[in-house]
Symmetry: C2
Amino acid sequence: MPAEQPQWVIDARRAVGDRIRVRRLHLNMTQETLAHASGIDRSTIQRMEAGAEMKLSHLLHVAAALRVHVTDLLHG
Amino acid sequence: MPAEQPQWVIDARRAVGDRIRVRRLHLNMTQETLAHASGIDRSTIQRMEAGAEMKLSHLLHVAAALRVHVTDLLHG
């Protein structure tokens, strides 16, 4: 697979990042707070919210820290 | 984050891998066929089905090739 992803995959990742940010702000958490709660580096949280490539494990940790099911971050 | 994941994350990844395999077999696809349909290396498909760490983009490509929504591979 080429390093560059098709637009629909980039869009889907961005939508996931948007949902993470919306949920985080809904809980009045900073990226720093979410990083601490999930055990993931703040820079990784930042990249995830920007829609960069992300590991399934990171997504699972973030969902748990945001108290949602991982599917809630992928719906839409 | 440590390289080793907690058991619940390992279990969740394995469940995703199981759902990929079950759906693939339901469609009478081999790992090779799924690799071709999704544009992902067969060795990566094999690792995903075994529950290894996986990229969100790969999960999205596999879900599309299996004609399910990515959330269908994460529910349960």
